[in-house]
Amino acid sequence: MTSIRKKLLLTLIGAMSLVLLIGAWATYGAAREEANSIFDYHLEQIALAVRDQDFNGRTGALAGDERLEFVLRIWDRNGLSIYYSRPHGELPDVARLGFSTERTASGAWRIYAVQHRGQTIAVAQPMSVRARIAAAAALHTLTPFVVLLPLAALLIWIVVGRELRPLTGLATSVARRTPDALDPIAESGVPDEALPLVRALNDLLIRLHTALKTQRDFIADAAHELRTPLTALQLQAQVIERANDADSRRAAIGDLRAGLERATHLVAQLLTLARAEPGAALPAPDAVDLPRLCRQSVIDHAALADARHIDLGLADGPADLAVTGHADALRTLLDNLVANAVRYTPSGGHVDVRCGSGNTGAWLEVTDNGPGILPAERERVFDRFYRRAGQSASGSGLGLAIVQAIARQHDAHVTLDDAPGGGLRARVVFRKPG
C-alpha cells in the first residue's frame, strides 16, 4: 500500500485504538482495585453485623433469594454448621479468620471470617462479581471513544486529503509539461516536505530542456546544411538531363559524382558527430597505441596528400605511448585533423603527424605550413558548420566539431596555435590518468 492518505489513516486510527485499549485496561485495573476495597469492606461489615445474632435453630432465614450473591455461614464452637445462607454453595468448610481468597470449582471466592463467643462467622462473595463490575467501569470509559472513532477516522481522512492537495497540484503541473514547454515548476505554495522533490524536478527539467534544445539545434543545423549538397545534386542532375552532347553530359556526370561524394561525406560526418556527442553509448575504453594510430592515419591519407603534392609524414616520437580510450573514435579524431591539414595546405606544403607526452600528459599533434587560422577564429572553427571567410566550402564544416566532441569524450582538450614553421598546429592533450 503506497497511499499516504490510507497509510496515515490506518496508522493514526491504530495508534488511537491502542491507546484506548491501554486506557481501558488501566481503568479496569483501577476499578477492580476499587471494587476490592469496597466489597471487602462490605464483607467485613456484614460479618460484624451478624456477629451479635443468635442463630440457634433459625437457619435458612436468608436462604432462597437467588439474587443474593453474598453467602453467610456460621459454625458453633464445636465446628458444627449452625447457619448456612446457601447450603448448595461451594464455600469451603474450613474458614480462616480475616480475609482470604479461596478457589473452588465454581470460581474464586472472597471470604471474611470472624470469631465471636465461640461461633465462627464467615461471609463470602464470588470474585467474578468484582471482575464484572470493573469490566463494566472500563467499558463505560471506553464507549464514548469507540463511538467517536469513525468520526476521528473521517476527520483524519479529510484533513490528510486537504494537506496532500498541493501534491495533486504538483502532479498536474508536472503532467502539463511537454517537450515543448519545460519551464520550471513554481516553488510557491509547495509544502516544505515536497520542496526537495520540486527542486530536483526543476533541475531535471532544465537539463532536459538543454539536452532537447541541443538535439533540436543539431537536427535543424543538419537539415539546413544538407540543403547545399542536395541543391547541388538537383542542379547537377538537371544539367545532365539538359545536356545535348556527349562531352557536356560526361562532364556533368563527373560533377554529379563529386556532388554525391560530398553529400555522402556530409552524412557520414553528421553520423560521426552524433555518435561523439555527449550521451552516446560507448564501448568499454581500452589502451590505445598512439604511435600506431599516427602511422595508420598517415598511411590512410598518403594517396590524397600525394595527389595534392603535399609531403605528409610521421615525425619522430616515442615508439611506445598509450592512452586509455576508444581506438575507433581517436582514429576518427586524428583522421579529421590530418584531412583538414592536407585540404587546407597549399600544393607543395608539408604536414607532420606526431605524438608525445609532457608534464600534462600524452598528446597528438598535426602541424602544417599552410595559411593557419587567425587567433580570433580559433574558437569559432570548432562550431558546427562554421565556415571561414575566403575558404571554399568544400568540407562538411563538421571536422573540428567532431574532433572537439571526441576529445571531450576522452577528457582531452584541443588547442590550435601557430606551428613553429608557420601554419597551423593542432594539438590534442590527454589529461594524465589519476
Binding site: 547545399t228 542536395l230 541543391t231 547541388a232 571567410a389 571554399s392 566550402a393
Partner: protein, 220 residues
C-alpha cells in the same frame, strides 16, 4: 542575356553556370561579396542570382548597397533560409524574387524569364514584333508563323534587339550580353552573327544605324 551568379558553394555555382548556359544565357559566377561588387561595377547584368549566406559580406548587404545606388537590376535570391521572416526581409531589401534551396532548375529558368519579361515591360511570355515572334522559354523564333532555326548566339542577339524594338544596341553592348569573362571574342564575331541573322530573316529585320549599332525596327 548576361547573368551574374553570386554563390559561395563551388558545386552549386558551377552547376548553375552550366545549367543557365544551356538556356542560352551568358553567365558569370563569383563566390564572394567583394568579387560581386567588382563584377557589378564593371558589367551591366540583365539579372543577378544572389545567395545570402556568403562568406565575408552577406548577400543582403550587397543587395542593399545596389539598391542604395539606384541599381535597378533584377535580383533573384537563392538561399537555404526558408523562414517567412527571411523571405520578407529579402524581398523588402529589394529582391525581385526569392527561391529556397534546393530548387528546380526549370523553375529557376521560368522565374528568370518572368523577371526579364517584366523588366522589359511585357506581360506576355512571347515577344512579338509584327509577324516576327520570339519565345524566350522554348527558344523558338517564327516569322509569319514559320519557325526559323537560329544558333544560340544568333538567338541571343535577336533576343536582345527584340527586347527594345527601335532602340539600337552598340556592338560592345551586344558583346557584353553574349560573352562571359573567360570567352574569347573574335574581332568581328558580332558582325558574323548579324550577317547570319539577316540571311535567315531577311536584311530588313536587322537595321544598321551608322556609327551607333544595330536595331530591329518597330513594326506597327
Amino acid at each position: 542575356m548576361r547573368l551574374l551568379v553570386v554563390e559561395d558553394d563551388a558545386m552549386i555555382g558551377n552547376s548553375l553556370r552550366n545549367g543557365l548556359r544551356q538556356d542560352g544565357y551568358t553567365v558569370d559566377w563569383v563566390s564572394d561579396g567583394t568579387a560581386a561588387e567588382l563584377a557589378t561595377a564593371a558589367t551591366a547584368y540583365d539579372a543577378i542570382l544572389l545567395d545570402l549566406g556568403l562568406p565575408g559580406r552577406s548577400g543582403l548587404e550587397l543587395l542593399a548597397r545596389w539598391r542604395a545606388r539606384q541599381n535597378p537590376v533584377p535580383v533573384l535570391i537563392i538561399t537555404a533560409r526558408d523562414s517567412v521572416a527571411d523571405r520578407v526581409l529579402g524581398l523588402d531589401t529589394g529582391a525581385d524574387d526569392y527561391l529556397v534551396k534546393p530548387f528546380d532548375l526549370d523553375e529557376l529558368s521560368a522565374r528568370l524569364r518572368a523577371l526579364l519579361r517584366r523588366r522589359a515591360g511585357r506581360a506576355t511570355p512571347v515577344i512579338e514584333n509584327g509577324p516576327l515572334t520570339l519565345d524566350p522559354a522554348s527558344h523558338e523564333v517564327r516569322l509569319d508563323g514559320n519557325e526559323i532555326s537560329l544558333s544560340a548566339r544568333e538567338f541571343g542577339i535577336l533576343h536582345a534587339l527584340m527586347e527594345a524594338p527601335g532602340v539600337p544596341l552598340s556592338r560592345s553592348q551586344l558583346e557584353e550580353r553574349l560573352y562571359g569573362w573567360q570567352e574569347e571574342i573574335g574581332s568581328n564575331a558580332v558582325e558574323v552573327h548579324i550577317h547570319a541573322l539577316r540571311r535567315k530573316l531577311g536584311s530588313d529585320w536587322i537595321r544598321n544605324v551608322r556609327g551607333v549599332g544595330y536595331m530591329v525596327p518597330r513594326q506597327p
